[in-house]
């Protein structure tokens, strides 16, 4: 059975059908791409999957569990983590603390233990530090653990966002335009990182991207959206050679 199963999702904003009858099925371990022209509704699909918007119609299930209509927080706890198109870091926290916020629900001690600095505080904080440093090392950020997140260069901020999302121990990772604003070298590096993350964490990844080199390079399956509707769905190579898709992207 597929890890993520969304059936007939629709959402309207007033008269506008931002997403109309969207269905997707992502197998565990798959690297899946969601592409389409600007304004096609890609980010809206992410917002539906993560509970930012509630769909007017349709059902979303993760690992066989119905998660339709849950809150963002609950959906994260159910196992979907995401990054944002316009980076959303905790700017005034250190790089390390950004990842530790991601670990929040997996390493716990009581408020009182924190205020009184009881042994459980020290023990769990140490675990969190170790776990967070491990993650930062994967993204080559460990040397900047104490830097404020807002002082990182752009490319590293994107990486930190992925590290923070992974810290929540998700089953499915959603990446919203991870290569936006990156130069070709950084994009190449990002592709390697995404591949590495999939191998190391055995992760299922759904990503939105405009960079066709990245999409054709790493995605195994694609869904193409246009005007909120699915234009084409299937194996990457078939989709990219589909005349409809070429028409939507390049015009006639």
């Amino acid at each position: 059975m597929a890890l993520l199963e969304a059936k007939n999702l629709s959402i309207y904003f007033g008269g506008l059908r931002a997403v109309d009858d969207f269905s997707i099925s992502i197998e565990k371990g798959c690297l899946y791409g969601l592409i389409g022209p600007n304004g096609a509704g890609k980010t809206t699909v992410f917002n539906l999957l993560t509970g930012v918007y509630k769909p007017n119609e349709g059902i979303i299930s993760l690992d066989g569990k119905n998660i339709t209509g849950l809150k963002t927080t609950e959906i994260n706890q159910a196992g979907i983590a995401r990054t944002f198109q316009n980076i959303r870091l905790f700017k005034k926290l250190s790089v390390l603390d950004n990842v530790k916020v991601g670990l929040h629900n997996h390493h716990k001690y009581s408020t009182l233990a924190g205020i009184l600095r009881l042994p459980s505080y020290r023990k769990v904080e140490k675990e969190m530090d170790e776990k967070a440093m491990e993650l930062l090392k994967v993204f080559d950020l460990d040397s900047q653990a104490q830097t404020l997140a807002s002082n990182l260069p752009y490319g590293k901020q994107r990486k930190l966002e992925i590290a923070r999302a992974l810290a929540t121990n998700p089953k499915l990772l959603l990446l919203d335009e991870p290569a936006a604003g990156m130069n070709p070298n950084e994009t190449q590096e990002l592709m390697d990182t995404i591949r590495f993350v999939r191998e190391k964490f055995d992760m299922t990844i759904l990503l939105i991207e405009h960079d066709m080199k990245l999409v054709s390079g790493i995605c195994e399956e694609l869904t193409v959206l246009n005007f909120g509707r699915i234009l084409c769905q299937g194996k990457t190579i078939d989709v990219l050679n589909n005349p409809e898709v070429i028409k939507a992207y390049l015009g006639e």
Partner: protein, 364 residues
């Protein structure tokens, strides 16, 4: 190995910064005690010692809401008011009911009760109010602060053998045989609260508030609260329960303000809810401490609360007529010096030069 080292630096850095803050408070306390014992402090200044502690606690606790949670609250004096009246009510009642109870225990229980009720009010007000953001939240908290103050002005409350008597009209409506047992007498407030507070207790409570706020900031919960401040949408996306942590910060902030209120009430023989002490003037005064000291900067809150409380009294000696005018001008100058970008750059330059000189000397 490198990781272990890293972590140690991290924890001890926060601990070191906390210890410096505690050290400053304790050193200031010791200096004041010595000056008092040498009779170098005017009686006016001596009278300010407990209020200074009250203001420091208020500033530190409001900084938790404004600086750490990132929400603008203008109702902080309201929570202080709740703490003051519940604490004073309790002490006054115990004076009749359990005359034998030692003062220290009575005051300790009064603190607990004041903190509890103020925290409860924080929770009750926070549930509807924290749905708003920014300016809107500020205005609504301001209104709630005023509601609390005005309700207490209407409240008549007494306890005798027949139980509790409550009225919102007049003392006569209480129908009590012994009018001495009226505890809260409307706009006349509570009179005869035992004077259980002193400077030492005040400083202990300041340290208590500091431990709670500073340790909270450096804990898992504090990180969640700051994450919400920095980016609420991202905090939700990593599974942080936003409502829970907003309420937690708001309630802790309120209950610390309640403690400040209890301290305040037990320093006065007559407690009344006037605009001067519990109105929005007071709330804004506390906000001024926080903004001047630096939003999110706990140590700065302490220093600015002390300086801005002492300053008007110091000025009294020199320019008694225009002292509030001078006070306002100094306030503007201090704000500019602390926070104008050009001044920050200038201070950085000076610091850099000093460091270079020091390094050069060390090199020699």
């Amino acid at each position: 190995m490198a990781m272990n080292k890293m972590k140690k630096i991290n924890i001890s850095a926060s601990l070191k910064s906390n210890l410096i803050t505690f050290g400053i408070v304790i050193a200031a306390y010791a200096v004041m005690q010595i000056l008092v014992s040498l009779h170098l402090v005017s009686s006016l200044m001596r009278g300010l010692l407990v209020p200074i502690c009250v203001y420091v606690i208020l500033a530190v606790s409001l900084n938790l809401t404004v600086g750490i949670l990132g929400e603008l609250s203008l109702g902080h004096a309201g929570f202080m008011c709740v703490g003051a009246f519940t604490g004073a009510f309790f002490s006054k009642y115990i004076l009749y009911a359990v005359p034998g109870m030692p003062g220290a225990l009575r005051f300790f229980l009064a603190l607990l009760i004041g903190a509890l009720f103020a925290g409860l009010f924080g929770l009750l007000i926070g549930i509807p109010v924290l749905r708003l953001k920014g300016d809107y939240l500020a205005i609504v908290t301001l209104a709630f602060g005023e509601i609390i103050k005005n309700l207490i002005n209407l409240l008549y409350l007494g306890i005798d053998e027949n139980g509790v008597h409550i009225s919102l009209n007049s003392a006569l409506d209480l129908h009590m045989e012994d009018s001495d047992k009226i505890i809260v007498n409307g706009a006349m407030g509570i009179t005869g609260t035992p004077n259980d507070s002193n400077f030492t207790i005040g400083v202990v409570l300041v340290l208590f508030a500091l431990i709670i706020v500073l340790n909270l900031i450096h804990s898992r919960d504090g990180r969640a609260i700051m994450a919400i401040r920095d980016n609420t949408i991202a905090a939700e996306s990593v599974g942080i329960n936003v409502t829970k942590y907003k309420l937690m910060a708001f309630a802790i902030s309120a209950s610390l303000a309640g403690i400040a209120g209890v301290l305040y009430a037990h320093n006065l023989s007559t407690l009344t809810a006037l605009p001067k002490n519990f109105g929005y003037n007071m709330s804004i005064q506390i906000l001024v401490f926080v903004v001047l000291g630096g939003i999110g900067n706990i140590r700065g809150s302490i220093i600015s609360a002390v300086v801005l409380t002492v300053l008007p009294e110091l000025l009294r000696g020199f320019v008694s007529d225009s002292r509030m005018l001078i006070y306002a001008i100094i306030l503007i100058a201090m704000m500019l010096f602390n926070w104008a970008p050009a001044c920050i750059a200038w201070r950085e330059k000076i610091r850099y030069r000093l460091n270079r000189k020091k390094n050069a000397k060390e090199a020699e």
